[in-house]
Symmetry: C2
Subunit: 316 residues, 2 copies
Amino acid sequence: MSQIPNFKDINEAAERINPYAHRTPVLQSSWFNDQTGAELLFKCENFQKVGAFKFRGACNAIMKLPERAGKKGIITHSSGNHAQAVALAARMNGYKATIVMPKNSPSVKVNAVREYGAEIVFCENTIESREETAQNIIQKTGAAFIHPYNHPDVIAGQGTSAKELLEEIPDLDMIIAPVGGGGLMSGTLLSAKAINPEIKVYGAEPELADDAWRSLKSGKIEPVLRTDTIADGLRTSLGSLTFQIIQTHIDDIVTVSEASIIRDMRNVWERMKIIIEPSCAVPVSALMDAKISVQGKKVGIILTGGNVDLNQLPWS
Amino acid sequence: MSQIPNFKDINEAAERINPYAHRTPVLQSSWFNDQTGAELLFKCENFQKVGAFKFRGACNAIMKLPERAGKKGIITHSSGNHAQAVALAARMNGYKATIVMPKNSPSVKVNAVREYGAEIVFCENTIESREETAQNIIQKTGAAFIHPYNHPDVIAGQGTSAKELLEEIPDLDMIIAPVGGGGLMSGTLLSAKAINPEIKVYGAEPELADDAWRSLKSGKIEPVLRTDTIADGLRTSLGSLTFQIIQTHIDDIVTVSEASIIRDMRNVWERMKIIIEPSCAVPVSALMDAKISVQGKKVGIILTGGNVDLNQLPWS
């Protein structure tokens, strides 16, 4: 489980998941083009199954399991989009899924996982409790653990989004995506640099969760120090695989403030009429705040998901 | 100005506006398909310029004006999407636009109109004051009045949305759209029935603004009796032209409750990750509440717009 996927793995992942995942649309916005002086191409993973790119990786990893392994069940721990992705992908394959979720998970997320037919096991609100609870179940059942990002088949699956984007818009100068655990960024790097070695790929992080930026500077995996950024999908630290891929290939990582994230989440809602979660706004803010020079460039942005509690909007 | 447009007018409108209007995407949702037992195709005019189908009609009407007339200025009265549509289409043509808006218009709408460069003249909050204020300006300036719906070029412009939808999905059994003043519905009927005489076209209205339904029954234009439906785009009565077209061609009109409109507006936001305004949810509710039988049918739904005040959501 420790090898780094290559572009062949991503192509195979695409073939594998294409009948099940949406080929998400690429949208444009003249308002954002005017604001940034660039031509922006938004790859809308908020329209993906379960409302997030996470379905790509989970679907690829679960479909790639030998049936014998899948029959023992699928397990993961997550309070976010990966939980729903694993639940749906397992159900599509006729496998039983168990999702370990912290007690304090928002009920909207718990209900969504339940709706996809997974069993939920609650644990304490620490990463240790999550891992221990999952390990206990694995020891009893032999269920296959699908890590949310530090897993080659998950990374290869996430890489299919950038592959689709570049198939549709081959002459992009640059792609920018958010960095949480690094699964999406790793897949994006492997896809984009294989398709076009000249392309620039940038990561964007909240200032409050700048662990990947710090890891890039120090040369080792730095942990997330606080988990209060509004970009709830980006509160995780890098893994061994994702750090290695990011360190090797990424052009740079930039960080943005909480205020910018909320402002640009709202700008996207109002100007593009699409619902994005706060994590998606992070790369948008990187451009709006001119953290990366994009004047006259053709820039792909991966919008990662659209799962938001409509009763708790950050501006209300 | 009283003649009814034909399909040739709609084709000419399409050619005229195509370089300026977006060809809006058609989206699907497996959740809504499951709920209704039909295959639903959502034509997303919320992604249109100014965030609403209204740009099509305004653009067509203004582009069709002789330059000599346009140079005298463009005028309309509207507190809604038509105001923005006229403001933008006038600016694109290098004409000066004056928009008469009631004093109580939400500031978000006033600002949007101003952003498109139009002059705003405020009036009292009655339809009489709107019309009188506009008439006074027309007498002084000779500006061309672009009625929001009872205008053949506006109707022909609105018909381009259904035309695009049927070009993309030719085998639709049915199209459903909301009915306000009837401009969109008239254009939709003229397009759809010309392209496929077998297709069914239904209108949907809020119970609180069921004037078109009552007009259809009584055989004459019945006024809207109250203006408190949340579907703010549908608070207007039919015009002479739109009533004639609707009476001749429509298959039926159904009505839905306020609670259903709010529920399905939220369902679309949550399930499809797109922002629609309340008026769009009216036809969706007609299907969700089984007001029209759609089992096994392929049904086009025109989503009319996405202009919503994010500080005042109906469920908060």
